[in-house]
Symmetry: C2
DNA sequence: GTCGCCTATTTGATCGATCAAATCAAGGCG
DNA sequence: CGCCTTGATTTGATCGATCAAATAGGCGAC
């Protein structure tokens, strides 16, 4: 038989109707055991596999999640997203879902992609990975009843509690707090924080964790916080000044950083200055920090991926069904983990 | 109207039949201009978009290409593949194709995925990214008439000329030759090569480029070639011995490497040994070499992606159609580019 | 005038599955 | 015995598009 077998072929072989075959696949519990076993044998004998497009046409569901692939930034931090996408693909497959990629250069272009993919019933839901304040994309998706979840909190506080907006995020403050405590335990006396300029939702959160950890040990964070754009060279230059005592504040013997880019910059600045015992802790645990033997806070992209799917499909769901009322808080906060090196 | 408009709605609005609407979309040249314009107006008035699954069911084509996402290796070299996947997604979108991800832990698991995705008419073709000698996957795909292309030459020579097997690859020898010539031009006298143990298709190819460049300048490669597994620590250890003069050969003042992992290892070994003028050139131009300011051979993943689609769909094709006879040689060899830093 | 030919358009069938409603069989109970 | 309920299975319609074949209309040739 050249043609792939269909439900009808299976039905014929098993001596039942099409619908019963369909039931064996989609609602096995309503089929009598004897019948079900007969159908299952026919399925495996014929090597039958459901035709995904036909099913999608009828059910108006695609079992597919769309995710945007960002242009290669040329930098370091893409690695977290790549791990996330991989974990998402793997876990989605276990639940019978697939991941479809798309690209866009601007938010408007992305909304245009939303249109294309939802109108064609190509995807059931979207995962957004970099949301920002006043993001038009989440508005569009809510308005058109398209399920979605974001990796990253909606930092506009109005949306934070909105149970309609599902989000997963990493508890950045907990991560930097753990890093800071590690530095304290290692006997460091002046523990600084190298972060990004305020306001930055993620960046300020990470700074808070560091400050809180210091205070809870009776220390003051004053004068030990520096901010530069997320760029290796900028970080290197800024830390060069700090380490040679050129700045107003004290000279640190440890630096907790908001990203691995900054950490590598700090590390190189220390090398430049001949300082060999500066404890540098990065964030994201990218290959670069691994290569240089720097400790780093690991975001656990795998756990974030599982959390994302739990939100979209329910903890044990196997489909994205917007009509099922949501249970739980509508968000997941993943505890990061400090990877200690050297 | 809550429901998305269909061809029938458009047909009604434009006063034509369903099929004419379909023709406007798929074969505009056979529709009279006046009619076409009327239909096009109705399409945009109603905001009609074709239902992808319905079309796929009927045409038995999905306009989708499957690509495997590899488990996060924890290393450095994943970056090239990530850039490649991104470029593939972007270029595929321009041709009306989509990229679907899947994962697998073993070749057998991957073949199982081939089955699932082709039987369900989920994908039209596959792109394989890491082929090896005697790969069962290509055999399965050929046997089942599933179109595919590989990023990477089939190193088993029997397949190299087989026009059935489409492949794109980067001319690694040209890349290492360019790196070697750069070192010669920079006045280096003892230019070594740090690569992987033989036999390795890709690795031996890269070594050849280095040796050839040296010989064409009247120099001998003897005693300047070292081989370790693709691992930073192993490279660092190996080069430590070489740089301190502990080895049998001469001490190099430049090292061309088969990968950025090796290059970073060599660079760190030089730092350890207090050697500050060792010229290290990597391969893959990953964020790590960028961060450390090392020169590196860039694989041009974007060009590789374009080449892949050209092979699968024809230079200007917009669909994967196995019935169209193949033109050209069936493979593309991309010339890499040396990125010079510092 | 009408026959054939070409082009533009329409009609009916079909792709492979699921939905909704109908049918059938087996008990339970007054 | 007859009626109702429950559970298992079947039947006919449908999702939205394209394919293949049929039809209508215009034009030139005989």
């Amino acid at each position: 038989m050249a043609r792939q077998p269909t439900v009808s072929d299976v039905a014929l072989a098993a001596g039942v109707s099409r619908q019963t075959v369909s039931n064996v696949l989609n609602a096995p519990d309503i089929v009598r055991t004897a019948t079900r076993e007969r159908v299952e044998r026919a399925i495996s004998d014929l090597g039958y596999r459901p035709h995904a497009s036909a099913r999608r046409l009828r059910t108006r569901r695609s079992s597919t999640i769309g995710i945007r692939l960002y242009p290669f930034a040329g930098g370091i931090s893409g690695a977290v997203l790549d791990r996330y996408v991989h974990a998402l693909t793997e876990n989605a497959a276990e639940r019978g879902m697939r991941i479809l990629l798309y690209t866009a250069r601007t938010p408007d272009e992305e909304i245009e992609q939303f249109r294309r993919l939802t109108d064609g019933a190509d995807v059931d839901a979207f995962v957004l990975t970099s949301t920002f304040h006043g993001d038009a994309r989440t508005g569009w998706l809510l308005e058109h009843d398209v399920p979605f979840a974001t990796f990253g909190r909606p930092w506009g506080d109005d949306d934070l509690g909105d149970p309609q907006h599902l989000w997963v995020d990493v508890d950045g403050a907990a991560g930097t707090a753990a890093a800071t405590k590690h530095a304290i335990a290692a006997g460091r006396r002046a523990i600084g924080f190298l972060g990004w300029p305020s306001p930055s939702g993620t960046g300020d959160d990470r700074a808070r964790g560091w400050a809180r950890a210091l205070r809870s040990h009776g220390r003051s964070p004053d004068g030990l916080r520096w901010a530069v754009e997320d760029d290796l060279t900028a970080a290197r230059a800024a830390m060069a000044g700090v380490l040679t005592g050129g700045g107003p504040g004290p000279v640190p013997d440890a630096v907790v950083c908001a990203s691995d880019s900054l950490a590598v910059g700090a590390h190189l600045a220390a090398m430049d200055a001949g300082v060999h015992d500066l404890l540098v802790i990065g964030f994201d645990n990218t290959p670069v920090s691994e290569a240089l033997g720097l400790s780093s806070v690991e975001q656990r992209p795998e756990d974030v991926a599982v959390g994302t799917l739990d939100l979209l499909m329910g903890a044990h769901g196997t489909a994205v069904d917007p009509s099922v009322p949501r249970t739980g808080t509508g968000h997941v906060l993943v505890e990061p983990r400090l990877i200690v090196r050297e």
